[in-house]
Amino acid sequence: MTGCRLLDKLWDAHEILRREDGTSLLWVDRHLVHEGSHHAFAKIAERGVPVAEPGLTFGVADHYAPTRGRPATDAIARMITTLAANTEKHGITCFGLDDPRQGIVHVIGPEQGLTLPGLLINCGDSHTSTHGAFGALAFGIGATEVAHVLATQTVWQKKPKAMRIDVTGRLGPGVGAKDLALAWIAKLGADGARGHAIEYTGPSVRALSMEGRMTLCNLSIEGGARFGMIAPDETTFAYVKGRPFAPSGADWDRAVGQWSELPSDLDAEFETEVTMDASEIAPIVTWGTTPEDALPVTATIPDPARMQGSAADRARNALDYMGLTPGRKLTEIAVDQVFIGSCTNARIEDLRAAAAVLAGRRAKVPGIVSPGSQQVKAQAEAEGLDRIFIDAGLDWVGSGCSMCVAMNGDHVEPGKRCASTTNRNFRGRQGRDARTHLMSPAMVAAAAVTGHLTDVRELLKEREVA
């Protein structure tokens, strides 16, 4: 009998029962809903069933939240008022547009202490894997499942296989969690971790802040994994302590005791093992239309003529959509605009990293900076980061999913190219015919300064000399 993995411990602690066919009924500790949950509320209304646990359900306006002024259209405004009406009707706490706790659901959950180690967290959003950074079992669900959680506070799920991504070595200067994530996705493919829950381990993962860990777990789904997780440690506890909804006093001590038992046992075995050397990872950018189309910024645009079969077709389609020429240097790609924001990279550390590059410099292209929450915004302003962005010529705007998902009216115009800290470079993701290059906040800041994809390490080097 080999040891238990973090996944097993979390699963066992939430398994109400397991059917003969192997499907588990799991208890849900936190259910986060947003404007997109309207389908699910409609489903339970149709059946006439109440919300089983309004006290464990939290709402937030983010997907359609305006970042400047009022909602762009009546349909967008209706999405926000529908969420407010649904949460009010069921007695659910909702962080609406006027609430200082409002922000992107995967930013505010941890920020408010709703996200804790050892919990099971669901949200109708694929980036729910973000919360796994705390050693929680967190996964995105569809509208039918959201309705099921609303009605029963449980979810049916077959236990996924476990994959360990062990990262040895150290990330170099100017290289961060986003680069690490894009590096493994490029290595394994956009479906490389399908059917798996990933546990990230190793010294470089331990060295990451909670913000970095959240970025890493957030992007698990872009490699196909519905779950990403990191065992909790002192860094986790220090982040959680004192948060509004986190335990305190004797409960805190008891909680830390339990949380300390969560890490995978030393003799635990994983169905799939992957090893990465952090010291080999350079700043990464995407060139195509899936996050697996990612390369070090020092590379050249791939040539479909050197590929075979459907991979060649796919690369040709991607380059055609992206308007790129094979063989050219990635750093020759000029951008029209930049976006810093999203549940992937809009936390305070992300804004600091971008500001460190932009300080005292001017952006050659326009762009917007949308902090992950109103609290992040307030903190950034207290640190003077807003001035750095504004002085560089970028727009400092409100908090929400904004240009990552292009639901609130913020979008990239057809044919325009955007260097973006977001999570998906899919066709049309940022707007019809929009061209997205994913990269870290520091790399987006570098692209803003030069007007083309740029190795941020060069700009940081200049800074050291100065």
Partner: protein, 215 residues
């Protein structure tokens, strides 16, 4: 949701890898109530040009009565938006055949009676080649997990639980209501073991299920 075990219809090929849910339904259509129907939004930016005029050559425009879609690896990856499944179902698609599917998409599909049938890369290559000169009639049998295309029969992979769910048209909420007592017992024990499972600002609401928020 009603169950089904056998379906015969026209199959078309969407010869692309990584058809993500943002492509299946662009975000800008998702504020529409489901009652208005999502079929027109399916693969909108492929099926319509920049001026909103239909692109006649696109497979689903050429064969608007297709009910089976053949595609390549990682179909339905990305966003958890169930609207992607609504768009397929409302268009009239009953079966998607591909070498692999996004996990959340596959689960959403089964919850809406849409079959995500997995076959090998080689079988998809062969099937797409057979559909190269136009749509063909295909029969899908859920009971024995087979796809019949012309003289060829291929087996598809599908989780047994999902197979039963699709055949019986099971509704999870109904199934779960049968376990009410087990859920209540679990909750009591769970909260005792980890009181912080109830967020601290909300510990006043009644312990047995539904209650009011105290703050």
């Amino acid at each position: 949701m009603s169950g089904w075990s056998n379906h015969t219809g026209l199959a078309v090929a969407l010869d692309r890898e990584n058809v993500d849910t943002d492509q299946l339904i662009p975000a800008r259509f998702m504020s529409t109530p489901r009652s208005e129907g999502y079929g027109d939004f399916l693969l909108y930016d492929f099926r319509n040009d920049a001026h909103g005029n239909p692109t006649p050559d696109f497979p689903l425009n050429a064969v608007p009565n297709a009910s089976i879609l053949m595609s390549r690896r990682n179909f339905g990856s990305g966003s958890s938006r169930e609207a992607a499944v609504y768009a397929l179902v409302d268009f009239g698609i009953r079966v998607v055949i591909a070498p692999s599917f996004g996990d959340i998409f596959a689960s959403n599909s089964v919850n809406n009676g849409l079959l995500p049938a997995r076959v090998s890369e080689a079988e998809v290559d062969a099937a797409i080649a057979m559909l190269a000169d136009g749509a063909k009639e295909v029969t899908v049998d859920l009971t024995d997990k087979t796809i019949r295309l012309g003289n060829t029969t291929i087996e598809f992979t599908l989780d047994d639980v999902w197979q039963q769910k699709l055949i019986n048209g099971w509704d999870d909420i109904d199934l779960t209501q049968n376990h009410k007592q087990a859920i209540a017992a679990f909750r009591a024990q769970h909260v005792q073991r980890m009181p912080w499972a109830i967020p601290v600002q909300q510990t006043n609401f009644r312990s047995a299920g539904r209650g009011t928020v105290s703050q």
